[in-house]
Every structure is written in structure tokens, then in C-alpha cells.
């Protein structure tokens, strides 16, 4: 497998070097586009776009046994051989009415091609390909523009945050199958769209947004036993869950969100409120008497989504300093009634209810005629009412949990070659993650990238636990 991967990588490298001399004309390679031109002439108000992509991540450590606190057996050589295809239809019914549908197809050939890999059946069932209409029909909505009003009705994704990472980006749940390996660009396809009414009213320098979500989908953590399952936890289930509750579609169980925004004197400010369900279920422990033989207490577990109130705020501004423009941004999110897992045996349900404060701030600028961009970001989570018994992913939780990141990117050859390096550090834990990406644009339609991602730190930290998951990725994309 490694040999095949290296051959692919070498071919890509040679293709890049020989781009101009190559007999294959990348500049005009657009088979779908040529066909769509004819369709465009026939139905001028219909736009069809899409992409086809392959993403392959090679595990640089390969197979290994007894890794991490969860004693994981790594049986795979590749972490992903994912084939993605998307097709988007936009039909303009009138100047004020547009119908949009986006379908997404996914097949991870890791489960067929990496013969040595051994995964539980339910992992393959869930992660190998999209097999339900719910997954394939990614977005379907109408845009209605009327005077100062904008209505977006249907299945969609709404993004409120502006940071690399999530703070006030709370509306849609996510498919976190790749855990911390997920990059900012992956959210588009890993965010789970919901059926909702999204209404915005614009006036002067302000807008007000109201969202009503009758649909509910939980977020998907990495599947137990899959490549990116948390190495701090055992790959086999230590207990059984007796009951899984999910909010109903009844009006009382719907989610509601409000946002007010204004842009005054260059200050872009928003206030948000979200009456929601926790996208990650809470595991409630229930005492079921005592074992007649050992006398130990017996428990059953119930999984339930709980109600949350979320209040948020964000502000950003650009300032001139040292002869360049610096953009700074801050986001805060205060969550009420969150449940936290605890090792304190006096808590009968194994959880405690607490509020939580989260924030991300960043500063960004560009250098050398705009060719180098830098972004520094400081993210933290503060746990009021903290207790040392609080747990997260089987590890001890921190009262104040900061993460720093620095992203640097540079472009060459009319932006065709791009190098991006992102370094994340968790100062309290001595752990880090590093992602380095080189991308090359062959034409307006074809691009490729090579990516290295490395992790380091102690086994009980979110980056450190993946220190044997360093990977080298290759990605090809054709857009039309």
C-alpha cells in the first residue's frame, strides 16, 4: 500500500514539474464544462456545477499495537482513501426566487483496498459510503429576495463564526469522523445541514436574522473502533446503552436562533442567541440495585440530548499599524446548562450541570505585497464551577484550556503555487499539531495538494493522544 502511495505521489510531483511540457493539456481539461455549455444554451436559467475529488491519507506510523491509554490496535496503513463527488443545481425562477440543490456522494475505498485493516462491521456500515437520501441530498432550499427581506427556506447550513475553528458557529451539527485531523476547509462537507427557515431583514447598517429549526440531527463523533476513534478510550464498548433519546419534531422541541448585526464606523458587531439541543448526547448513569453475587452497585446508561441556551457576541475591526492593515476579531460563547462527565461517585448520574464560556480571538495581516498572509489565533475554554473530577474523553478536564495557533501562507506564480503551514500549540499540555500543505493549480478546473499533518504530546491530551497518527495526504480535485 505504501509503495502504491509513493508511486502516486511521485507521479503527481513529475506532473507538476512537466506541466508545460506535458502532452496532456490541463488548461482545457474540462469535460463536464464543455457538455454543460450546451445545456446552458438550452436552459439558460439553470446552472450546474460540481466537483470530483480524491483524498488519500497515508498513516506514517503504519500498523501498531497497544497504542495510547485506550490500548488501540492500529491495523491500517491508510487513514482514508476518500472519493467525493458533488453536483449543484441552481435554477433561477425569477429575479427574486432561486431554487438550489446540492448532492454529495462519498465512498471511502479504505475499507475495500487496505486489506490488512480490521474494523468493526458498524464502522464500515457508517463510514464506507453515503447510503441514505439524508446524506446524499445535502442541501435543498429556496432563496426568496423581497425588498429588504431575505428568506432561505429548506435544508441548509448556516455559519455564524468567522474563526478558524468553532466558537459561535453553533447552528449546524457536524460529522467529526476525522476528529482533530479535520481542517477548516473540511467543514463545508462535514457540517450536517438541517431543514430550517432562515429569515433576514436588512436595513441601513443593520440586519436581524431569525432561524427556526424543526429538524434535529446529532453531531457524529469519531466512530468507536474507526481510524480516528479517541486513543484515550478503549475501542470496545465498556458498557451498553439501554436507551437513546432524540428530540422530537414537535414545536416545543424545535430550535430557535436570533442574530443582530451592525456595521458602524468599520466595527462589525453581532449578538446571538440560540435555544438549542446539545448536538452531542449526554450519558446519564442510572443505578439498578446491586449485584447479588458481588454486592457491587449495578448501573444502566441512557443517552439523551439536553436543552441549552447559548449567548454569543462577536466583533471585528481593521486598523492601520506599522504601515499595514491588521484585522482583529473576537468571539465569545456562553452556554447555559451544559452537562459534564465526572468521576465523583457522589454524583448519582455521573454528570454535573454547569455553564461554560468559550472564546476565540485572532489577528491577521499580510506581508510582501500581499503574498504572505499570517493569522495568529488564541482559543480558550473556561469552566466555571470547576472540579478536578471533571472528565473529557476519559482524561482529566482543565479549568482553563487554551490553544494557540499560527498560520502562514505564501503564494507564487500568479497564486498557482501555495504553501500553507499551520502550527497549533496547547501551552499547558506541551502538545502540538502541525499541518503543512503545498497546493498547485494546474488550471481553473484541476488542482492538487500534498499535505503533512503531525501530532505530539502526552497521551491524555487531544493532540498528544494522536502522536502515532502523523499522516501524509494527497488530494486531487476537478471542479466544473
Amino acid at each position: 500500500m505504501k509503495r502504491i502511495f509513493i508511486v502516486v505521489l511521485a507521479s503527481l510531483f513529475i506532473a507538476v514539474l512537466n506541466n508545460y511540457a506535458s502532452a496532456f493539456d490541463f488548461a482545457s481539461f474540462d469535460p463536464a464544462g464543455d457538455s454543460l455549455e450546451h445545456l446552458k444554451e438550452t436552459v439558460p436559467d439553470l446552472e450546474i456545477h460540481g466537483f470530483f475529488k480524491n483524498r488519500t491519507d497515508l498513516d506514517l506510523h503504519g500498523k501498531d499495537d497497544d497504542v495510547g491509554l485506550g490500548h488501540i490496535n492500529k491495523t491500517w496503513e491508510c487513514q482514508m482513501i476518500e472519493w467525493d463527488a458533488s453536483i449543484e443545481f441552481r435554477y433561477r425562477i425569477s429575479d427574486h426566487l432561486e431554487l438550489i440543490n446540492e448532492d454529495h456522494f462519498l465512498y471511502d475505498s479504505l475499507y475495500d483496498w487496505d486489506h490488512g485493516a480490521d474494523f468493526p462491521d458498524d464502522v464500515e456500515d457508517r463510514l464506507k459510503y453515503y447510503n441514505s437520501t439524508k446524506q446524499i441530498l445535502r442541501e435543498l432550499y429556496v432563496n426568496i429576495t423581497y425588498d429588504n427581506w431575505f428568506f432561505k427556506l429548506g435544508k441548509q447550513q448556516v455559519v455564524w463564526g468567522k474563526m478558524d475553528g468553532k466558537c459561535i458557529d453553533v447552528i449546524n451539527p457536524g460529522d467529526y469522523r476525522e476528529s482533530v485531523n479535520m481542517g477548516q476547509d473540511d467543514y463545508e462537507w462535514r457540517r450536517i445541514p438541517l431543514w430550517m427557515s432562515n429569515i433576514t431583514y436588512f436595513w441601513s447598517d443593520y440586519y436581524f436574522q431569525f432561524i427556526w429549526i424543526p429538524d434535529f440531527e446529532p453531531s457524529q463523533s469519531p466512530q468507536r473502533g474507526s481510524v480516528w476513534w479517541y486513543p484515550s478510550l478503549s475501542a470496545s464498548m465498556p458498557y451498553s446503552i439501554n436507551k437513546k433519546n432524540k428530540p422530537s419534531t414537535a414545536f416545543k422541541d424545535n430550535e430557535f436562533a436570533l442574530r443582530f448585526n451592525m456595521v458602524k464606523n468599520g466595527w462589525d458587531t453581532s449578538f446571538i442567541y440560540f435555544y438549542t439541543w446539545d448536538d452531542f448526547p449526554t450519558l446519564f448513569k442510572k443505578a439498578n440495585g446491586f449485584d447479588p453475587l458481588t454486592g457491587d452497585p449495578e448501573y444502566s446508561y441512557e443517552q439523551e440530548h439536553t436543552r441549552l441556551h447559548q449567548f454569543g457576541f462577536n466583533i471585528d475591526k481593521g486598523n492601520w499599524f506599522l504601515n499595514r492593515n491588521w484585522v482583529w476579531r473576537i468571539e465569545f460563547l456562553y452556554t447555559l446548562n451544559d452537562y459534564i462527565s465526572t468521576a465523583d461517585t457522589s454524583k448519582s448520574k455521573g454528570v454535573v450541570k454547569r455553564n461554560c464560556l468559550k472564546s476565540i480571538s485572532s489577528i491577521e495581516t499580510s506581508w510582501m505585497h500581499g503574498e504572505i498572509s499570517t493569522l495568529f489565533q488564541f482559543a480558550w475554554k473556561y469552566q466555571p464551577g470547576y472540579d478536578s473530577s471533571f472528565k473529557s474523553l476519559g482524561c482529566r478536564m482543565k479549568r482553563f484550556d487554551p490553544t494557540l495557533s499560527l498560520s502562514v501562507s505564501k503564494q507564487w506564480y500568479n497564486d498557482r503555487l501555495k504553501l500553507t503551514a499551520i502550527f497549533y500549540s496547547r501551552p499547558g499540555e506541551g502538545s502540538w499539531k502541525f499541518k503543512d500543505t503545498i497546493s498547485w493549480t494546474f488550471s481553473d478546473y484541476v488542482s492538487a495538494q500534498i499535505r503533512y499533518t503531525g501530532y505530539s504530546g502526552p497521551d491524555d491530551d487531544i493532540y498528544g493522544m494522536y502522536s502515532k497518527w502523523d499522516n501524509l495526504g494527497v488530494e486531487f480535485t476537478y471542479r466544473f
Binding site: R92, D95, F150, V159, E188, D205, Q209, N323, G370
Partner: protein, 361 residues
């Protein structure tokens, strides 16, 4: 019976009349293009802008010889870059790398101006330096990687004293489904990774340079005055000088040559203009630039202009980009440009004038 008939007819008339009023497009009350020299009335406002109190000797000579100062001509030419109160247009751009690789862009753009007329920018009538002068926004249609990406800029009125904060911008990225403020780049940065800088395309103001008229010339049959301009704002400016061919009757810049810090030519530009109805405002229809040293090019083609639509302020809010609304389609859709042969001829240097100038000197 008769009364009933009258009532029916009247009712129908009221209904038809109401429908007619709603559906029939109102006659346009657009303003008309006015020759900037006539609009300004007193040329001293243009000649002595930015607090200047007296003309230089050279300017006095230029007035004597040509009837204008260089600054005056360049200010008139600059005023033609911003027609009417608001407008929208389609833009097609082909950027050619030295190796002949074409990057093709297509976008829809709309502009709104926040001042009375071009004269008010000189005498600060209703607008002061630091105030928003213009807002513009748009949505990309090509290339696929940029499709539905939105941009929004607020441009501020700058002056000799207040010139650093010239713009701020936001971008909507379709793939991320979010808008974000982007750091604005210095004026000398390349716009769209092309041979043009932000200064060339958007930011350069006439008073930032010292202008002298260096002669009369002809560009593609149009009589022009030729002006040499040198930046006075930044001692490390990336150009040593620019030379512009400004058409004499309507003050349209038809041709421009730029010279790098080492004095060698680094950019040649041809611009084509047309008058659009209603209002007969002048607009650029083609902007064709080349770096003669590297062969890098950009060709911008503008079409489907619509003037004075009374655009609302709300349309220039960052979140508005999230609508990804393509508010109009081109009248004559054209396929993307893939080959250099599909582009107009490369602009060339005006050798005749250069030789004449060398002879005169």
C-alpha cells in the same frame, strides 16, 4: 343600467390604472453626464486642490501652452472613472502568465457613491476626508474555485493629511459559507495576482502625484494631451513615473505607460471607452495591460452596464453577500476564455511620441 356600466368601466379603469402604475417602468430620472470641466465651473478648485495656495511655474506654463494644468487634466480624467450615483456591470478578466497560462475570472459588480458629485470631493461639500466615498460589492461566477465568492469594499475619501486608511473589505467564501473581514493590502500590492496594482485599478488619486503636460499626441485617431506623473506621497513608490494619454474633448485616459524605479518601462495599458444610456455616461469597456518585460497580461472586459438603480445601503452589508444572489445575467453570455488567441491584441508602446520627445529634448 347606465350607472352600472359606468361603475364597471370606472372599476376596470382603476384596476387597470393601478396595475399599469405598478408594472410599467417609471421614466428614468437619471442624471446626465456632464463634461467635468463644465461641472466644476471654476478651474481653480481643481488646480489648487488639497489646500494648495499657488500654481507652480511649470503649471503656469502648461496653462499658457495647453489651457490646463496636469493635475487639472488628471482630475477630470479621474472623475470619468466613477459615473453616476450607482451602477452595476459584468466583468470578464483574463490573466495571462509569462508561460501563456490563462486564469479566467468573471464577476458581477455594483457600486454606490456617497457624495453629491465629483466637485464635492474637491471642496468637501457634504463629505470629509475619512468618510465613506464609495461602497462596492460583487459575486464571482468563474473560475469554479471562486464561484459564488462575494466581496465587499468600503472606500474612504483620502487627503494629503488622511491617506492611510483608504479602504476596508470583506469576503464571502462559498465553501466556508461565511463572510470575513480581510486585511486590506497596500496600494502597491498586485490586484488579483495580475500585473495591475491596487493603485492602478482602484486607489490612485490625482493629488498623490505631480503632473506635467509633456506634449500633444494621438492615440488610435483621438487627439490627446500627454501627461507625465510622479508620486509625491511615498518616497519609495514602486514607479518612477507614469505617462498618460488623455483624450482632449471628454478627458478619457486612452493609453498609459508606467516606468519602474530603474526607469525602464514596466506596464503598457490601453483603455476603450463607450457612452451608455441613459445619461450618456462614459464607461470603460476594455482595459488591456501588459508588462512588456515579462509578457504578463491582464485583459478586463466590461459589459451590461446599468446606471442609477437607487441601490439600497443594506445591499452593501457584509452579510448580504451570503445571499449569493446573481441579480442579473449577461445579455450575451460568452464562454470562458481559454486561449491567448481569443484575446485582443497586446497593447504597444507609443514609439512615435517617445521618438518625438527624444528629438525635442
Amino acid at each position: 343600467m347606465f350607472i352600472k356600466l359606468i361603475r364597471n368601466l370606472l372599476g376596470k379603469f382603476v384596476v387597470t390604472g393601478t396595475l399599469f402604475m405598478i408594472l410599467y417602468p417609471l421614466p428614468c430620472n437619471c442624471a446626465q453626464w456632464i463634461n467635468p470641466k463644465l461641472l466644476v465651473r471654476d478651474p481653480a478648485i481643481v488646480r489648487l486642490q488639497q489646500g494648495r495656495t499657488a500654481l507652480t511655474e511649470r503649471e503656469k506654463q502648461d496653462i499658457h501652452k495647453y489651457g490646463y494644468t496636469g493635475l487639472e487634466l488628471m482630475t477630470y480624467a479621474d472623475s470619468n472613472m466613477r459615473p453616476d450615483k450607482s451602477w452595476d456591470k459584468f466583468v470578464r478578466a483574463a490573466i495571462v502568465s509569462p508561460g501563456g497560462h490563462i486564469k479566467y475570472f468573471e464577476w458581477l459588480n455594483k457600486d454606490k457613491y456617497y457624495y453629491k458629485d465629483f466637485r464635492s470631493l474637491l471642496n468637501y461639500d457634504g463629505i470629509r476626508p475619512g468618510d465613506v466615498m464609495k461602497k462596492f460589492t460583487g459575486i464571482y461566477l468563474e473560475p469554479p474555485e471562486r464561484r459564488y465568492r462575494g466581496y465587499l469594499y468600503y472606500m474612504y475619501l483620502t487627503s494629503m493629511e488622511k491617506h492611510q486608511k483608504d479602504k476596508e473589505g470583506w469576503a464571502w467564501v462559498h465553501s466556508l459559507r461565511r463572510y470575513r473581514r480581510s486585511p486590506t493590502t497596500p496600494k502597491s500590492d498586485h490586484w488579483l495576482a495580475s500585473v495591475l496594482t491596487y493603485d492602478d485599478y482602484l486607489l490612485r488619486r490625482p493629488w498623490e502625484e505631480k503632473h506635467i503636460i509633456i506634449g500633444r499626441g494621438n492615440h488610435k485617431g483621438n487627439k490627446c494631451l500627454i501627461i507625465e506623473s510622479r508620486n509625491i506621497l511615498d518616497p519609495d513608490y514602486y514607479l518612477s513615473k507614469r505617462v498618460s494619454w488623455v483624450e482632449e474633448q471628454n478627458y478619457l485616459t486612452l493609453h498609459e505607460e508606467q516606468f519602474a524605479e530603474n526607469g525602464k518601462i514596466c506596464l503598457i495599458t490601453d483603455k476603450s471607452w463607450d457612452q451608455v444610456k441613459p445619461g450618456n455616461y462614459w464607461v470603460i469597456t476594455e482595459w488591456n495591460s501588459v508588462n512588456p518585460v515579462t509578457g504578463e497580461r491582464i485583459v478586463l472586459m466590461y459589459s451590461d452596464f446599468r446606471l442609477n438603480q437607487g441601490l439600497k445601503d443594506g445591499e452593501f452589508l457584509p452579510a448580504y453577500m451570503g445571499k449569493e444572489h446573481i441579480w442579473k445575467r449577461p445579455e450575451k453570455p460568452m464562454p470562458p476564455i481559454k486561449y491567448v488567441s481569443e484575446l485582443p491584441p497586446v497593447p504597444v508602446r507609443d514609439i512615435e511620441f517617445r521618438d518625438k520627445l527624444q528629438r525635442d529634448n
